[in-house]
Amino acid sequence: MGAASELVTLFYQRIFAYLRRLSGNDEDAADLTQKTFARTWQALASYQKRSSFSTWLHGIAHHVYLDWRRKRNVGDAQSDEWWEAQSDHSPTPFETTAERELAQQLYRWVDELDEEKKQTVHLHYYQNLSLNETAEVLGVAASTIKYRLREALAFLRSRSEAESRAERRIV
């Protein structure tokens, strides 16, 4: 019981953050986090130690999120205010306001990606999972993850360039 409590302490913040970014509100994220851990205890006997516990837990969270999304049929994009609030309240490495605004815009564009690429970006960049871990969580090959990330970066770059051109035109 003590070990389980320690596991929760170690991972609940990361899982909540992952589910919060995907679900879009605190209540649903908290529920999904609870469900993730409840399902973790049920499936603990089948944990084969083929991957790290963190990866396995992210896999469960991913499936919990997919089930929730399938039932609720919720929209993809987060509201602009949320990202702004997060940037305002969280300690960020961005020093200038321009950099912070650019980062917020980038996060919004990530939410415009299709579901598979968005999941890949969330797990790899936001959750700091390696390519292999991301591939294991999503149940695809590592090469597929690389392809998706390349596509996502190309999309974000194109959006960024388009934005820069629009700003120059205004000036």
Partner: protein
């Protein structure tokens, strides 16, 4: 914004902090599976899984040991057989000699059997030759007996001979032929009567159209009239026939009266078309009301 900047920015995305009470809630809901139930499912698997590599290795080693033992056994057996064959090879010339002697003895045996068969055939042929020597004497005896038997019928001339038998048969055939002639004449008369108001013809020439040939008007035993049988109806006359006609036009009403008769065979054609072959010692002809009938001589009754 290049890819490096984008990636760096994404890696530094803000991390939302969880609500304060979430940790307590999750910790309160920790429900680990009971210690008994979880391992139970794998209890029976664990020993197998744990010992499977060792068991597999053991089975492999045991199989190898068995195969080696079997091969060693085969090798020993082959060595023994090889030794036996080598020992036998040393005696090979002697065995060949024995084999040749055996084959020679076998050939002698076959020759002996053949000679015995030939001897038996020779004895059989001798017996047949002896029989054949006796045969001419038997033939001569049979010829003598044949001559004696052939001479015997000539000596007894009064006994029934083959010639007499054939003569009787010829006579009977002639009698039957005569009966047939009369039957055909009766049939012709009845046909003629059918065309002429049921009146019988009083002349043979009149009903010549109903008769097929003049031969039926001559009895086969009437040798004197045989030349007339070859005549046609144009040359034939009523007095040339062998049969005596007593027919009258209205004889159809008197079926038992005689219409024609053969004086040689005593065959009678009656008015009803039937032909009666009677014994003259028992029946005779009687005339009544101008017509002739057959009558039993002893009883006096009509035929």
């Amino acid at each position: 914004m290049n890819d490096t900047t984008i990636e760096k920015t994404l890696f530094q995305a803000p991390k939302p902090s969880a609500p304060a009470d979430l940790l307590k809630q999750i910790q309160a809901e920790i429900a680990l599976p009971s210690a008994k139930t979880a391992p139970r499912a794998r209890e029976w698997q664990n020993p197998l899984r744990r010992w499977f590599p060792a068991m597999a290795f053991g089975v492999l080693m045991l199989s190898c040991a068995i195969i080696m033992a079997v091969q060693a056994n085969w090798a020993t057996n082959l060595k023994v057989q090889n030794d036996v064959l080598r020992a036998t090879t040393a005696e090979l010339p002697k065995l060949r000699e024995q084999h040749a002697a055996l084959e020679n003895a076998q050939a002698n045996q076959d020759e002996l059997v053949q000679l015995r068969k030939d001897n038996e055939e020779l004895h059989q042929l001798r017996a047949e030759a002896a029989q054949l020597r006796n045969l001419p004497a038997q033939i001569e005896q049979l010829q003598n007996e044949n001559k004696r038997l052939a001479a015997a019928p000539a000596a007894s001339s009064n006994t029934a001979s083959g010639a007499g038998f054939f003569a009787d048969a010829q006579a009977e055939a002639d009698r039957v032929k005569c009966v047939n002639n009369l039957k055909q004449i009766g049939l012709a008369m009845r046909i003629w009567a059918g065309d002429n108001n049921d009146k019988y013809p009083t002349s043979l020439v009149v009903m010549s159209n109903e008769l097929s040939t003049t031969k039926i008007l001559i009895c086969p035993n009437d040798t004197a009239r045989q030349p007339y049988a070859s005549l046609g109806f144009q040359q034939f006359q009523d007095n040339m026939t062998s049969y005596k006609f007593t027919v009258q036009p209205d004889d159809e009403n008197y079926p038992h009266c005689i219409t024609a008769r053969c004086p040689i065979h005593h065959n009678y054609l009656l008015a009803d078309g039937s032909v009666q072959s009677v014994n003259p010692d028992k029946f005779r002809e009687v005339q009544k009301d101008g017509r002739w009938y057959l009558q039993n001589i002893e009883t006096g009754e009509p035929f």
